[in-house]
Symmetry: C2
Subunit: 236 residues, 2 copies
DNA sequence: GCAAAAGTGTTCAATTTACACCCATGG
DNA sequence: CCATGGGTGTAAATTGAACACTTTTGC
């Protein structure tokens, strides 16, 4: 093993795969790249890790810059290190995926970034290996959401069961029985029923619920099967 | 966003968390570090990523060097980037976890590396953030093995159901009903029964099985609940 | 009153769990 | 011939899937 000083050095980047849900479709947030190489092309939100910060911190910084939001759900996805992934220089990128409530998202700095939401499954061609990152993030989202309640992170504070079911149906591109779905979700005791109804999508109106933070955090890492029998046939 | 040339540069390392099973205990392979800083202390197997190779390739190179084995089960775990994690220089490390059949492992280059197997739960104090890496790898192993058949990778080509059950019981530190365990495993059709018995641990002898590679690979990524009802109470 | 969406109830099937029982054999 | 661990059978309990039914209300 050679000594440290003889080892090659790398640029270290982060890239964020940001998912949102507009009530009808699952979407991906991308920007128009503002500098060379590939200026003007669609790209994930990213940046370089600085001395004195972790890659997590760099990713949160990038997210905050673009969305104006703190405390988003975010987790490390994978590190991409193909020598030729960035034609300009040897850059290794740590990819993170993040979930945002699209209603809370306020477009900031749009002059600099030109952000745009694309429907998942119709995202544009992205620079470097960013499409590969998005594919992996979609897999991970489907995987993790089948067992853990992270899709709540995509919804506003108050939401109805039909809205939640619609989100699951979008993510898994299938349909669920409403009776069985509602019983399954409510049996986790992660939701608190409010006395207000959303009357926008039906005459009867659907009750709003909000996440019971205590139960949610306490049970986030437990295994809960959120997708019924489709669980067994899911491949990832 | 600054231009590339103004960005800081990092050393890029890989570290491998290598698990093995000796029939009675789950074990971790560590080495005595051969160079400064921390020469002589216990460490994960690692190395620096070189120009022109991916971190995956660097990890396979390190595994091959130490164990003499190709084609081990290996997957990327997490990237560690605390600025002070290596006191000598700013080094970011991509951690991989690997599973080896301990019987196939031949101690090579022992003069250089001084490798040793430690029982999981009694591993020694390791350099840098390596204990943290091991903790995360143990969690990931328990998580993934609950749903996918990766523990087969820890066993020799031929093994008995009681041996397999013992392995699961070690990983989850619990016990399973032998009848239900055997039915569950065999129902996956991932095992082929051989006409030879292992007579070492009983008078009656237990039939050997081997992995049906076709079924195994085809269904590796499907969700299969390998831990019965303990699944629901498993937290990770 | 009726269409449309929310929400509840009920049945049948599949899976899981617990535990009893039989089997093979070395000493 | 019996103790020991391997292996099979089975009934009860739980969970899941399907679908019928009731509720509410704007038009």
């Amino acid at each position: 093993m050679k000594h440290y000083t003889t080892q090659p050095r790398f640029l270290l980047a982060i890239d964020c795969i940001i998912f949102g849900f507009d009530g009808a479709e699952l979407k991906l947030l991308v920007i128009q790249r503002g500098f060379e190489p590939c200026r003007g092309q669609w790209s994930l939100v990213g940046g370089f890790v600085q001395q004195g910060e972790t890659s997590e911190e760099a990713a949160r910084r990038a997210l905050k810059n673009l969305t104006g939001l703190d405390g988003l759900y975010m987790e490390q996805l994978h590190t991409f290190s193909q020598p030729d992934r960035d034609q300009e220089d040897r850059t290794v990128s740590v990819a993170y995926f993040a979930l945002v409530d699209i209603q809370q998202y306020r477009q900031q700095l749009s002059e600099d970034y030109h952000p745009a939401w694309f429907p998942i499954n119709h995202e544009p061609s992205l620079i470097f290996d960013h499409n590969e990152m998005v594919e992996l993030a979609k897999e991970k989202l489907r995987y993790k959401a089948a067992l853990h309640p992270l899709l709540f992170e995509l919804l506003p504070e108050k939401f109805t069961l039909p809205q939640l079911q619609n989100l699951y149906e979008c993510v898994y591109n299938t349909s669920f029985d409403k009776g069985n779905f509602s019983r399954k979700i409510l049996s986790t005791q992660m939701l608190t029923k409010l006395n207000i109804k959303d009357k926008l999508s039906s005459k009867k109106g659907a009750f709003y619920y909000r996440v019971n933070e205590k139960k949610y955090h306490a049970n986030f890492n437990a295994f809960t099967n959120f997708v019924g029998g489709k669980f067994k046939s899911l491949k990832v």
